[in-house]
């Protein structure tokens, strides 16, 4: 995959996400329509200033133009041991998620009390959430894909749709990592 074609799809993706026409984005960024048109066509070899102008007009950091879209599900149960360095008796660690390309990840500590269900609206497109349950039991996930998790479980899911959190035990604590855009 050539870098230009990657940029091409990235620009198109971000532009449609921003609900901007090609002409509007071009004038907003201060570049010629023709330049932008060729770029989105996967042709040419844009300069840094051109890319910068486009990213600024889209109101996103430049690195957002270098990301490859993906989103997926993954559950790692507390008793599933990826044997990574488990030979060290005093320490065993499990890689829950890595971040191959640059991404934005915000880290939250969440306390839940049993009772009502906490609904969360859809986040920006391609947002992914990582949940790790530290204490108690919770049911969470995107609409139609709720998972019941217990202490030590890890769950990753797309969060660009409606999703919810609910404590099944009296109290629950979890680590939530919001990652966008994936």
């Amino acid at each position: 995959m050539t870098p230009v074609s990657l940029i091409a799809t990235a620009i198109q993706r971000e532009r449609t996400r921003a609900k901007m026409s090609l002409s509007a984005l071009a004038s907003q960024a201060g570049v010629a329509k023709s330049t932008l048109s060729q770029l989105e066509g996967g042709q040419g070899n844009p300069s840094l200033e051109t890319l910068w102008a486009i990213a600024s007009a889209l109101n996103i950091p430049l690195s957002f133009l270098f990301e490859t879209p993906k989103s997926d599900f993954r559950i790692i149960r507390a008793d599933e041991e990826d044997q990574l360095s488990s030979d060290l008796s005093e320490l065993s660690s499990t890689l829950l998620a890595d971040c191959p390309t640059s991404c934005r990840r915000d880290l939250y500590r969440v306390y839940l009390k049993s009772g009502s269900v906490r609904e969360a609206a859809a986040h920006t497109q391609n947002t992914v959430e990582h949940a790790f349950v530290c204490r108690g039991q919770v049911r969470l996930g995107p609409e139609g894909n709720l998972q019941e998790l217990t202490e030590g479980d890890y769950f990753r899911y797309p969060a660009d749709v409606k999703h919810s959190y609910e404590a099944l035990s009296d109290k629950a604590m979890l680590i939530l990592i919001m990652e966008n855009p994936g």
Copy 2:
């Protein structure tokens, strides 16, 4: 700050980190020395292919050239409540760390047993680790800045120096997020 000057310092930083001479990097990347020289001098307006070639030769993703360096300490105790959305009785969440610019964050689940101390070598420059204790008590941190943490505590620290982990309780579990380069 102009985008070119940012790239200029970024390239120099990554090149010295890779212990490469300007000439060596140029030939490795397949670009003219003059091009690279001008770039590091903060002049010009590089094309995407040029940047791509340089990043590839440095063996880093392109987005690493757009990051602004920083690193810092932060501890959030379990009983420190950032009142964020604490008005919702059934849910209260605390933002532990956000990620203003693009960054790489790998997520680990770590189990510790009391006894020996786990020593970790210095990671690449500007690496930061986020530790969140889910169970038990641990003493961890960089050399000369060990912190004792208990359940629910969060600790962020530079990990580009030697650091260590030690369980103070019988068993301990924590979430570790490795972020590089910050």
